[in-house]
Assembly symmetry: C2
């Protein structure tokens, strides 16, 4: 959308949206599971019924983007293909099928003075999302927020503005049909100015979740006055220990590198204990080459895979999101731990070993959301963890860490019942 | 401390401190419960042994503060009296006696593919505290962070700089004695510049907790790039419903207003349903007057307590922290809920009623950390909840909400064990 605002206009407009969202959140807080599920199912139904109108809006976005010379990867993500329509619809039904997190009593106890304290799961309130020009995220994020009882303010990339407007229109129709306030899901207009105003809406927006590339996330973390859950960057390592089974290690690194290569849980660096290098590296390097993976290796690595490019300092810190893998041979578990502490992004880290002591040390000392022993880093994902749909993967330690499903975007309150207790 | 820095000097100095804190945190993460408790006990012992030196530093701070004409309330909080020494020592032993939150497996499950996922409680890492010139907070906060396995960067008010330096010296001696890194607890020097640099230490400090007045908290929430847990402001209400027992209601409002008047969980506004006003207000107002409470009442209130001052719009939003109470008669539960939604700070809210339906509605609809039925708001406190020591009371919805004890300042990680699983 190409709204232009007077100075301060963006703040005023976004505060109005956010105030509407707060009112909607108060009603969502009291909505029954059935009502929320009906809304989710109605969205799925209406997406199918209004597919042509949505596609027209999407084609308009695509036309503008192509004319503006937007990169092909961005255009690809922008397009609402038949496959993406199917996946949005399935996502909605999947979320409807998940248990409702709201109202669950997480803990309950009675104090010596007779006060009964229940820690109860409640909605976050108003959740802001800032993401790239991927209109399918609009529907996925709205669905998760809705089921978790929160109103959503969705700020997608400006290239997708028409598509998002069409999708939010469909969602709002479905909310009304289910007896819920349409303002429970709103698109935030106005490009960067709109995003900046959203980041300043302290007291109205309970938390902001940025989803996208490292640059987008960094700018939200730097600029937001509203609490942020940082997601994203994954410089993930697979460490092949001295006591690793070379075949298992090969399967794991090939999987961690070559499936979902552009996702944050893909491996970017392979660390190899020198005692296993001769038995493991030649075969693993050949397998990786078969999959089209370019290797950037340290000196020792290049003895076993001479066709690898020499690795530089930058390679150890790189999140390639591509068929490129940095490889380093280390002298010890300690050296592997130090490398991960220095270059890792606290996302997902794996050790492959038959030595339980080494595994225990690795799992205790590595500071990351998910620490694997004898498995691929690619499992760090809401679906693979059994959470169902996820809204992102947190790489910070506050609030949620790792895959964020429905429970991870809720808050709680203490509900306390007495019979007249006062504090002595 | 009166350090002066060159441009950028504060950032460099604080980053160095924070890097040392990160290294210390990695070691604390692996410390045994016994080692942490030994350190806590050693701090208590050394506080007693070095009491005279600490008092001398404190006297120096007090002298400077008095000469500078610092307000009496600030001077009072600054002084390390015998009672405060006793309370710091007892606090240390209490924290040592609490169960260790670290390593606890919060949840554990096995996926259909055989992956075992354990959600394990881990330390936050490096916690920054920004607080006023209250040196006893230095010891209390250090103790809680230490037991929860995190390194602490303590930025107290500049008036207490000498006292804090002396206390941190004692703490560091005790840490060394217990075989733990002394840099696990550090004082942050340099007044406002030091605090500002701490707020910019993204990637080194995992979270910042401001403790103090509304101004201090607002400035940290506004300026910090590091994730913040907002604590504090409490405009708490007691709502006396139509079906309230007037005697119980009187006991509760007197307790909520006149004990711990300067604390955030004290009541600031009394809401009274009009149907109970005649039976409740005259007696309650008289009791409150006996306790020296000044009333600021709406028109109807003043019919029952003519000596009350007329309340203005500002009174409904005021956090008096004093023997002053705003009183408003409302027409309905709905009006009470609307008043609380508008003026409350999401801290602690209470309903007094014999009507279970009204109580259920109140507890479901009020958006606050703690919602009471037939009890005083003064129970919102780590000790009263049974958490033991607390580091503050969160009024935000992200991460922790309500009293924050040991568990509330931890994070978690997923520890995943497989036998070679790769993602299809």
């Amino acid at each position: 959308m190409s709204e232009t605002w007077e100075p301060g206009g963006a703040d005023k407009a976004i505060r109005r949206l956010a105030e509407d969202a707060r009112k909607a959140a108060a009603r969502l807080n009291l909505a029954s599971t059935r009502q929320k599920n009906e809304a989710l199912e109605a969205i799925a139904r209406r997406l199918a019924a209004e597919r042509e109108a949505i596609r027209a809006a999407n084609q308009a976005d695509l036309g503008v983007a192509r004319a503006a010379g937007v990169p092909a990867t961005v255009v690809n993500r922008l397009e609402l293909t038949g496959r993406r329509f199917a996946s949005m619809a399935q996502g909605l039904l999947d979320v409807a099928a998940l248990p409702d997190p709201i109202g669950e009593v997480v803990e309950e106890w009675t104090r010596p003075n007779g006060l009964r304290i229940a820690k109860q799961r409640v909605p976050m309130g108003v959740i802001g999302l800032i993401y790239e020009a991927r209109p399918n995220v609009t529907v996925d994020a709205a669905a998760i927020c809705l089921k978790a009882g929160s109103a959503a303010l969705l700020k997608g990339g400006k290239e997708a503005a028409r598509s998002n407007e069409a999708l939010v229109g469909v969602i709002q129709g479905a909310l009304t049909e289910a007896g819920l306030p349409p303002t429970a899901v709103q698109a935030v207009p106005g490009g960067r100015e709109g995003a900046a105003a959203l980041m300043r809406a302290v007291g109205l927006v309970d938390c902001l979740i940025p989803r996208g590339g490292a640059g987008l996330i960094r700018s939200v973390v730097q600029d937001s006055r509203v609490p942020v859950i940082e997601t994203g960057a994954g410089v993930c390592h697979v460490y092949v220990d001295a006591a690793a089974d070379p075949d298992m290690a090969t399967d794991i690194i090939v999987n961690a590198k070559t499936t979902g290569t552009a996702t944050c849980n893909a491996a970017e660096t392979l660390l190899v204990h020198r005692d296993v290098a001769a038995r493991f590296l030649p075969g693993a390097a050949a397998r990786l080459r078969d999959f089209g993976v370019e290797l950037r290796g340290c000196e020792v690595t290049r003895r076993f895979a001479p066709w690898a490019t020499p690795a530089t300092e930058e390679d150890w810190a790189a999140e390639y999101l591509d068929l490129v893998l940095a490889v380093r041979v280390v002298d010890s578990l300690d050296e592997a731990l130090a490398h991960i502490a220095r270059y890792g992004t606290r996302h997902s880290e794996a050790i492959v070993t038959a030595d339980a002591g080494a595994a225990r040390r690795f799992q205790a000392e590595v500071d990351a959301a998910a620490v694997y022993w004898n498995a691929s880093t690619r499992f760090t994902d809401g679906g693979e963890f059994g959470f169902g749909a996820e809204i992102g993967i947190s790489t910070q330690k506050l609030h949620a860490r790792g895959p964020m499903g429905l429970r991870e975007i809720t808050s709680h309150k203490y509900v306390i019942t007495g019979d007249g207790q006062v504090r002595p």
